[in-house]
Structures are given as C-alpha cells and as structure tokens.
C-alpha cells in the first residue's frame, strides 16, 4: 500500500489556481482509479477530478470552497 496524492492538475497554460467546488467522496470512502472524486472550478470552466489510483480516500487536504494552486496536493489516496 502506498499513499498516492491527488494534485491540482495544470488546467491551462495561463491558469494558476483552481477552487474545489465539492468533494464527491469523503474520507474513508472506497475509490476506483478514474472515478470522479471532486469538482473543480477555474475562472473559466468547471471540471471533474478523477482518482489517480484505486484504494481508500485517506485524507482531504483542501476542503470544498478552498482555492489551491496548480500542483498542490488536494487529497491522499491509500492505494491497494
């Protein structure tokens, strides 16, 4: 088992930040790789973030409504 971080992806060359609109999974929930686990908002678009690995959502480091910079860790998944 390894901890895999979910990071704020590069959402566009000139976009530096995104806001977590909502978490679709809570800490302790089972997640599958590719499953949608959070909604993120940039100034222009809303998009969904997918789980980078299958496992358990171990920790949410950026709660809903908070802003994170591109590359920031948003959550940790304890992978299978």
């Amino acid at each position: 088992m390894a901890d895999i971080p979910l990071v704020m992806p590069q959402l566009g060359v000139d976009i530096e930040e995104g806001q977590i609109d909502s978490w679709l999974k809570q800490v302790g929930d089972r997640v599958e790789k590719g499953e949608q686990i959070a909604m993120v908002t940039t100034p222009k678009v809303n998009l969904e973030l997918e789980a980078p690995a299958s496992g358990t959502l171990k920790e949410i480091t950026v709660p809903a409504d908070e802003i994170a910079r591109v590359g920031d860790t948003l959550a940790i998944i304890a992978a299978d």
Binding site: E17, D21, P43, K44, N46, D65
Partner: protein, 820 residues
C-alpha cells in the same frame, strides 16, 4: 455536468439508410360542394371579394407607377411597388385559415398578404374589438381621418377602410400611415391585426418569425407565426439557419415542461422566379421547393407543395399545418405554387419570360378561376360578380383619393422638425425589474458560482495592497454574471442563447453556473447559426420578450450582418416607435487567435444608426452597464474583451458592489486624473494607457489624464471636452484598425468641438490597417504603452521628444497611398 444525450457509437456506426417523410404534391382534392357545405356561400363570396381587393389595390399602385394617375386622379408615387398580381389565391387562402392572434412576417412583396390577413382579422374580430383597436392606434386619429374622408358604414366596413388607408398612406410615406411614414411599401405592418413587419431583405422574415414563434411558445401568447417569403429565399443562408433553429431536437428532448416544437410556418410563395432567375431549372436544384423540408428534420417539416392558384387548397393546407403547430409538432413548411402576372417591380420589362408563358398563366388567374367556380355553383351570378367588382373598385378609389389628399394624409414634415426621424431611433426607455422569482433566487443562492463569488474580494487588491488572483477577486466575468443573474431572477421573459452557452457556460465562462439555476428554455445552446441567433432575438423582442444573445467572437458579426445592421438596428425607427427592441447582443473581442478571431469591430457597429454600443474595461463598469443594457428597451451591442475577462476591479472604491446597480450608458469615465495630455481609450486600451501614464509621469514629468469611453453610442462629449480644456492635447487609443474606426469619429468631433482649446490636432492611435497577426506578433499590432509614449512625447508634446520605444516608425501618408 452530466451528459444528457449519449452519443452511442454502436448505434451511430450501424449500417442503414435514410427514409424521408413523404412530401405530398397538390394532394388537395376536396370536392367544391364539400367546401361550400362547410364554409357557406357567404364566406366563399368574401374570398373572391378579398382577392379582388388585393388585385385592385395592386393595380392602383401599378397604374400610378406606370401612368402617374389612377381612376382619373393624378399622383406621383416615388417609392417601390413590388406587386403580387396573380398571387392573390395564396395570400387570401392562407389568411382564411389564420386567426387574428396568428402573426405573419412578410417579404418585399407583401401588400397582398397584408391586405388578406387584415381583411381576415376584420372579419373575425367583434365590432367592439375593432373599434377598440382603431381607437388605440394613435389615439384614434387615424380612425377619425377614415371616418371623415372615406366613411364606410358599419364597424367592419370602417375597419376595412382603416386597414387599406393605413397601408396606402404608409406606402406613400405619409405621417398617418400605419408606421408613421417610416416603413413604406416593403415594411408596412399593423400589429393588432396580426400583421407583423414585412421585410425588404429576401428571407429575413424567416428568422424573425422563428423568434416570434419561440416567444409564442414560451409566453403561451397563442397563435402561430408565419414566415412569408418567396422561392428565391430558399437560397439564402439565413432561411436555412432559421429552419435549423426552428427544428432543433432539444425542444422535444431537453426542454422538459416546455417540450414541443416551435409554432412557425415557413410559407414560401413560389412564383417560380427569384426576380428574373428561375428557381426551377436554373438557380436552384430542388426541383420542387418542398423537398428542402426533408433536410431539416425527420418529419420533413410536414412539407407539402400546394396549389396557390386555388385559395381553397391553400386554406386547407394552412389550417392543417396550423393544427400541427398548435399541438407542438412544428415547424412546418408550405411550398405554395402560384404565378406573378405583374413584373417583379414596375421597371420589369419581362425579358426573362415569354409571352406564351404569361398567356398560359393568365388562363390560370386565381380570380378568374374562382369566380367561374362560384358562378358554376350558382353562388354568384354575372350581375352579382360585377356588383362586387364595382364595389371593390369604388372602395379602392375612395381610399386612394384620401391617401393622395394632403388634408387626409399629410406628408411627414421633417422640415418642421429636422430631427424628427432621429427621435424615433431609440425609445430610451428602461423597464423596471419585476419581483424576484423565489424559486430561482433560492437556486441561485445554492449555486457554486454564487457561493464562489461570495467568498471573493470585491476589489482587486488585498488590504496589503497585493494584486489578487482572479480566483480570489471579482473579475469582469463574474461581474457580468451577477448582472445577468439578477435580470434572470427578476425578468421572466429574459432568455439567453448562443453557441456553447449552456453546459460550457459560454466559451469564456460568463454563464458558468447559470445552467444549475436556469431551465433549458431560458439558457440554451443554439446551432452555429449567427444569423438565426440574432434574427430570432429580434422576433422574440418584437413579440414582447427580452433576449440576450451571444456571438462567440466579434469576428462573427459578418455572419449576422443583415440581422444586426438591418433588423435589430432598424425596426424601432421603421415602426415609428410602435416596436421596441430589447435585445442585448453580447460579443467578445478575441486575442491571440489571429486575423479572423481577434478583431475589434466596434467601428462597424457604431457606424450603423440604431444600435447602442458599450465596451467596458473594468468589472464595476461591466456589471453596471450590462445591467443598464438588460433593462433597456433599445437594442444594444455589448462588446467584451477576452483579454479582460480575468481583470479585477482596480478603480472603484470598495470594489464591485455585490448589490444590483446600473450605470448610465454614454458617459465616459475618468480613470486617472492628469493635466498635460488627455488619453481617451476604448475597451482594453485603458490598460496600456495606464501603464504609459505611469511612465510618462516618472520619466518625463508628463501628467496624463485617462478617460475610458465605456460606451460608444451614445457618447457624452462634455467629459472629454472639459479634460481637453485643461490639457489642450488628446490622444485616442483603440485596438480597432484606425481607418474608419470609432476613435476617428471621436477625434474628428473633438477637433471640431474643442478646436479653440487644442494646441495639437487630436491624434488616433489604433491598430494598423492590416490583419491581426498571431499571438507571437500581437504586441506589434495592438497599441502598447511604448507606442502611446512615442505619440505623446513625439507628437503631442514635441519638446519632450525622446528615443522611440514602440515599433511604429512609419509614414501614415505613404501607407495610405499603398492602401494601408
């Protein structure tokens, strides 16, 4: 946003073939005796009389044009006369099946349709209602004139004369024509009788009628919209765009409680000639016009080819299509074949058709055939027919005598009031917002976009004076959203559409989050059909609604040229104020995308009389000015710079108010006070000008006053002239190509109004008269701070002459010689 429509590759890639709904051709075969039994002899005789009224009216106009006199009355009629002699069966047949609440939108050849629809409405309305309609028009003044100069008898007879006189006075451009003499032959209309504007642009009514149908559907105001046009119109893009817009599958598949097709009937009076070109065999390939319905949707638009020579066949078909439309299965199309016995216009020498063909169709004259049918059935004898013809001739003679009599129909006296026409261009009315829709207000509070905005700073700088990112402070994008949301909550008729407006939230995210709040019918994706986007908004507004529509890039204005320049801009004046045009056209000026996606075309729009034009550069101005545009009953083109969508508020103390507010349209705003030179900016040029001003102050001890135009039409020069009185020099900066730009207009006027205060001629710094280059070269194209400093120090204040910073080291006179 979950996908509502799944594109299934298995279904999509499956082998198959397409079958088209059958398109009947001349299927009408109801026995005359059956029609007689159903309609009654009186109604059939009225059909003949209505055709005779149309024929005599058109003959009168043709005779005036050809001989300068009619029935012994000399008169010179200077305007157009696109006559419909020979097409009466189509007009009267259709009108017989229409109700007063059905609205027709016509073509340049619209007198017959106007008269037929009007006579049908007069027949249908109760006498008291007719009196109410006539009393409501110009406070009863036209009714009084008709009673005094024509008379007629009972309410119906008076109403017929009211109809014919109002039309003829309008054709003669008289002050008491139906449209105050501002419409004329090709634009006459009379709203209470369901006669909506005719149109001098071929096919233009198709999109407008489609928008009218959208309003009828959503407001449940009753009836159908009829788009009258000719066969030649099937070649025009806007007609195809209108049919595409009218046939969108989303009405049935995505609109929930508003499910159902648009109640619009595309009624093509097919006289086989597009002016002189022959649509069958020469300029089109459809062979039968009705075939084009098959291109639109699986029902082939319920298309039929019908016999326009027989008014009963037309009435039958229109009645059946009307049923289809009212049951939510529209749109529909009719190909109504008939023949124009008169020329296209009175200068038509018939060079394109033979005497044999004319003679063959004269034998199919709808009036002769129908009169014979009535005689054979014993409904009307020869004496009765002659009496009817004499009665119609006398009616037209009386109406004509009044219409050429200046005492009854005075000319429009522009000499007495030189800006009379100007005063009709805009209503300058603002609608007061209604109460909030509680359900929408609740949904809005819960939406992520609203919650996100609530957390943002209203000002662009933190308390420590640091610039905040667009995620942390209200941007122009957010400010526009807030104004829109308020109006959606308070104005139930407001709808928004354009390309990618719903799920995508607009290509630049202005609408992002609105889809969570608004049902589909208030915010939807349109087809990529700019002409239809604007034309339908015009029709929606004519019916009483309010639309905000979007052209993704200003560069697409060309695709909606007629709809913006001739329709949206013109109808308030051409109706002498009877119509209002609460349409906001949002469009963005691009950046980084090169020659066809980055042009500032404000100059094109400001050139057209009849449009208000706004181009904000700050969030505070964007919110307040969009709110004003959305409240206005006048058509507004609202430019937005893509480069500025993320711009935060740096000027207004306290930032962008969270509450609703409006700003006056037309008042330029001083963004930086100064004393040595005035810099007037349009749109995003504000920011390089501000940067230049800082440099000018720091490096050259030059104090620049910066004025942001904010609005281009209207424009209050006082703010600028006061500044010039102080600075004596002015530079105007725009991202538009200089030649013909609005900055050039402003400069010419400032030079004139402020001549005595100026020490140098007003100078325009715009983009050069060549293509916008790609992103890598943009800074060589749009005026930069260095270019501004070069002009201020190099030209306006020559004693400050410094080494050139920008690249604009060229000779404008030499460039002009090279067409640049």
């Amino acid at each position: 946003m979950p996908k509502e429509l799944f594109v299934d590759p298995r279904a999509t890639r499956r082998k198959g073939s397409l079958a088209f709904a059958e398109v009947p051709v001349h299927a009408y075969d109801t026995p005359f005796a059956e029609e007689r039994g159903r309609r009654g002899d009186g109604a059939l005789k009225e059909m003949l009389r209505h055709m005779l009224v149309v024929r005599e009216f058109e003959t009168m106009l043709g005779t005036f044009k050809a001989t300068g006199a009619y029935a012994g009355m000399p008169f010179v009629y200077k305007g157009p006369a696109h006559l419909s002699i020979g097409q009466e069966g189509a007009a009267v047949g259709a009108a017989l099946a229409l109700r007063p609440e059905d609205h027709i939108f016509g073509s340049h050849r619209g007198h017959g349709e106007f008269i037929a629809k009007g006579l049908s409405a007069v027949a249908a309305l109760a006498p008291a209602e007719l009196i109410r309609v006539m009393e409501a028009h110009e406070g009863g003044a036209l009714l009084r004139t008709v009673e005094t100069f024509i008379g007629g008898g009972d309410e119906k007879a008076i109403a017929e004369n009211f109809l014919l006189f109002g039309l003829l006075a309008e054709i003669f451009m008289r002050a008491n024509g139906f449209n105050g003499g501002m419409g004329g032959s090709m634009h006459a209309f009379c709203l209470p009788l369901g006669i909506y504007p005719n149109n001098a642009i071929v096919g233009a009514s198709a999109g407008i009628a489609t928008g009218a149908a959208l309003y009828k559907k959503l407001a449940r105001s009753g009836g159908i919209a009829v788009a009258n046009s000719g066969d030649g119109a099937t070649a025009t893009g806007p007609v195809w765009e209108a049919m595409t817009f009218a046939s969108m599958a989303q009405y049935d598949r995505l609109w929930g409680e508003e499910k159902g097709g648009l109640p619009v009937l595309f009624f093509f009076t097919n006289n086989f000639y597009a002016m002189g070109g022959q649509t069958i065999g020469e300029t089109a390939g459809w062979e039968r016009l009705a075939r084009i319905g098959a291109a639109a949707n699986p029902s082939s638009l319920h298309a039929e080819t019908i016999d326009g020579t027989n008014p009963l066949a037309v009435a039958d078909a229109v009645a059946r299509k009307r049923e289809i439309l009212l049951s939510g299965r529209g749109p529909a199309l009719l190909d109504v074949e008939c023949y124009r016995l008169s020329g296209h216009s009175t200068t038509d020498a018939n060079a394109y058709r033979t005497r044999e063909e004319l003679a063959a169709w004269q034998e199919q004259d709808p009036i002769t055939l129908f009169a014979a049918q009535l005689r054979e059935a014993g409904i009307l004898d020869a004496a009765g027919e002659q009496a009817m013809r004499d009665g119609v001739a006398e009616q037209i003679r009386k109406v004509t005598a009044a219409a050429i009599d200046p005492a009854a129909a005075p000319p429009v006296n522009v000499e007495a009031d030189p800006i009379l026409i100007g005063k009709l261009m805009f209503s300058n009315r603002e609608a007061e917002p209604g109460p909030a829709d509680p359900a929408l207000a609740v949904a809005a509070e819960a939406s992520s976009r609203v919650r996100q905005n609530l957390k943002k700073s209203r000002f662009g700088l933190s308390e420590a004076g640091e610039k905040l990112s667009p995620m942390r402070a209200i941007t122009i994008r957010d400010a526009l959203f807030e104004a829109l949301l308020h109006h959606f909550i308070h104005d139930p008729s407001l709808i928004a559409y354009g390309e990618e407006c719903r799920d995508w939230g607009g290509a630049f995210g202005v609408y992002r989050g609105l889809a969570d709040v608004l049902p589909h019918h208030r915010l939807f994706n349109s087809p990529i059909a700019e002409a239809a986007i604007v034309a339908t908004a015009v029709g929606y507004a004519m019916e009483g609604g309010r639309a905000v529509v979007e052209l993704m890039y200003g560069d697409f204005i060309g695709r909606a040229g007629d709809e913006i320049f001739n329709q949206m801009a013109k109808w308030q004046a051409m109706s002498a104020g009877a119509l209002k045009m609460p349409v906001v056209l949002r469009t963005s000026v691009g950046s980084k995308y090169g020659a066809q996606h980055s042009q500032d075309w404000t100059g094109l729009i400001t050139h057209i009389p009849g449009l208000k034009v706004i181009y904000p550069a700050t969030p505070y101005d964007a919110k307040g000015l969009l709110a004003s545009a959305l409240a206005s009953d006048d058509p507004t083109v609202f430019f937005e710079s893509q480069r500025l969508y993320d711009t935060t508020e740096m000027f207004h103390p306290g930032g962008v108010p969270a509450d609703y507010y409006r700003l006056p349209v037309g008042v330029p705003d001083i963004k930086r006070a100064g004393s040595d030179v005035t810099i007037l900016t349009i749109g995003p040029s504000l920011y390089p000008a501000l940067a230049a001003a800082e440099q000018l102050q720091k490096d050259y001890d030059v104090s620049a006053e910066i004025i942001d135009a904010r609005s281009l039409v209207p424009f209050d020069y006082d703010v600028v002239l006061k500044s010039v009185k102080k600075t004596h020099r002015i530079l105007l900066v725009t991202e538009a190509s200089e030649r013909g730009s609005f900055a050039m207009t402003l400069a010419a006027n400032i030079g004139r109004f402020g001549f005595k205060d100026l020490e140098a001629a007003p100078r325009v710094l715009g983009s050069p008269n060549w293509i916008v280059p790609g992103a890598e070269m943009e800074s060589t194209y749009f005026p930069q701070a260095g270019d501004i400093i070069d002009v201020v120090c190099g030209e306006l204040i020559p004693e400050k002459k410094v080494n050139r910073r920008g690249i604009r080291d060229w000779d404008d006179i030499a460039l002009a010689r090279r067409a640049l």
